[in-house]
């Protein structure tokens, strides 16, 4: 269907951003609503349908933005929706329900996705592999301008872009980075990062987003303030103020580990590699934990026959929906554990 298959996009495969030793991906999201419509909590089914029609005809059918694919989520297969959740193209909430709603994806790399009728009428998201928030913002800003030339946004001078939840009002911008912090976790300093981030009004989330635990020492950090600051200020304080400090902190911790506890790190990395090569049953969380260790091993030069883009791909295809796409058939949980282990054995051993 509509371009959703098990092949992962270039955004994941060939990270264009910086600091890929620590940063898996970075993204910028803009929340926008159409003027003249209620927000979705007060929208009728007909309103929702009208919104999807307007957006589809003006953005996609008009060819306003190149290479866009429209996916009607209320008519799509649930497995396809889960693939998109795992790839972070749509939210978990957006995958549920039977109301008229959609997602627009940019082909072929899926770096742009626009959720239509999620919490806001439009949630425009630009993703990059590695750290490249300025670049992502430049592109999303230009796309936002294009959209705004054909769709009038709900906006007022005082509060800016009006959003369903007042926590997004103003610039409506969320910048975030997915960070891999295994060394800080290992030396027990991860809570310091959490506390520091919170004190700077940043949200820290786990691998699966809101309310989730950090699996495989992967953390998603994002800004929370959207009012009273310009987009550039929000971007700058995040990507040149805070992120470099966390990235350097993790790198420092890795250096310390290599100097003082090299054997322990090597043991963990190679145990993980061994499990991936020989296990017969693996659940998704365990796969992520093992791949997290392997990723560290690749960065530290302990594993030479795997690279970061392969690890990123394995992290994705170890997820339930991707796994079923790769295998090409629906599997129950027990079948998935066996299939996942077989897939990992094959992909990791073949390197």
């Amino acid at each position: 269907m509509n371009g959703i298959d098990a092949n992962i996009g270039d955004v994941w495969k060939e990270p264009s951003g910086e600091a890929t030793d620590v940063v898996l991906s970075s993204r910028v999201r803009l929340a926008r609503n159409l003027a003249g419509f209620n927000f979705l909590s007060r929208a009728t089914r007909d309103d929702r349908r009208q919104i999807t029609r307007i957006v589809q005809s003006r953005l996609v059918q008009s060819g306003l933005i190149d290479s866009l694919v429209w996916v009607d989520l209320d008519k799509s297969e649930s497995l396809d929706r889960l693939v998109m959740v795992e790839r972070r193209l749509i939210s978990k909430q957006h995958a549920k329900g039977d109301e008229p709603r959609a997602v627009i994806l940019s082909e072929p790399d899926e770096r742009l996705s626009i959720m239509v009728n999620e919490e806001d009428h439009l949630r425009i998201q630009m993703m990059r592999g590695g750290m490249a928030l300025e670049d992502a913002y430049d592109e999303i800003d230009a796309i936002d301008d294009k959209i705004e030339s054909v769709i009038e946004y709900a906006f007022c001078p005082r509060f800016g872009y009006l959003t369903a939840c007042p926590t997004n009002v103003g610039a409506g911008i969320r910048v975030s980075a997915m960070l891999h912090l295994p060394a800080l976790k290992l030396i027990g300093e991860i809570d310091k990062v959490r506390r520091a981030a919170k004190s700077m009004n940043l949200a820290v989330r786990g691998f699966y987003g809101e309310g989730s635990e950090a699996i495989g020492e992967i953390y998603q950090i994002s800004n929370q303030t959207t009012l009273g600051k310009t987009e550039r200020d929000i971007l700058a304080s995040f990507s040149t103020g805070i992120m470099p400090k966390i990235i350097e902190y993790e790198r420092h911790a890795r250096r310390r580990l290599m100097e003082n506890r090299r054997e322990i790190v090597e043991d963990r990395v190679n145990r993980a590699l061994g499990t991936l090569r020989y296990a017969r049953l693996l659940n998704a969380d365990e796969a992520i934990r093992l791949l997290s260790q392997v990723r560290l091993g690749v960065v530290l030069g302990m594993i030479e026959d795997l690279d970061l883009s392969t690890v990123a791909e394995l992290m994705l295809i170890s997820q339930p929906a991707h796994l079923q796409k790769v295998i090409g058939t629906e599997l129950n949980q027990a079948q998935r554990r066996a299939a996942r282990a077989a897939l990992m054995r094959d992909r990791v051993a073949s390197h």
């Binding site: 007060r42 007022c156 939840c165 911008i173 809101e210 635990e213 009012l227 310009t230």
Partner: protein, 177 residues
Amino acid sequence: MKCDRCDNEATVHEVTIHKGQKVEKHLCEQCAQEDGIAIQSAQSIPPSLMQQFTVGIGQQAQKANRSPSCTNCGMSYTEFRQHGLLGCPDCYHTFEKQLLPLLERAQEGGTDHIGKTPNRSVGALKRQRQLTVLRKQLADALASEHYERAAELRDELRDAGVDLSSATADADEDAAT
């Protein structure tokens, strides 16, 4: 936050430790009941304590009742507080007074947009925004005693045709708060 099972707002949050792993559940009341999670009834709370709460709720409810619902979408302030989502763009105007303190808390004190402005609202909004930014910068410059920068900003504001007496008054007022 929405319920893990359905689209309702999650109001019951349960954290348990299972085999050393933290398991979080966020459910709406109905799904929580189906899941057998006991929701503590008001009866188990000592009456004296309960009274304190209900008095507070009563006052709040009265306050909320006094504030009118949104004339466009019919959303009441109480409803907004229950779900955290406004009903339409007009709600920002209807509930401006109540929203301001919430915004201040959630937005590090920010109550005015100084970011991007849609191009389509032509020059007017943009100019207004630029002036707001200049005013804020002037206030910051004065507060941090960067008088040279403040003078430059005052010139910029004057060039933009702003009545300086009021701009400075604004800035001074801002700087003082």
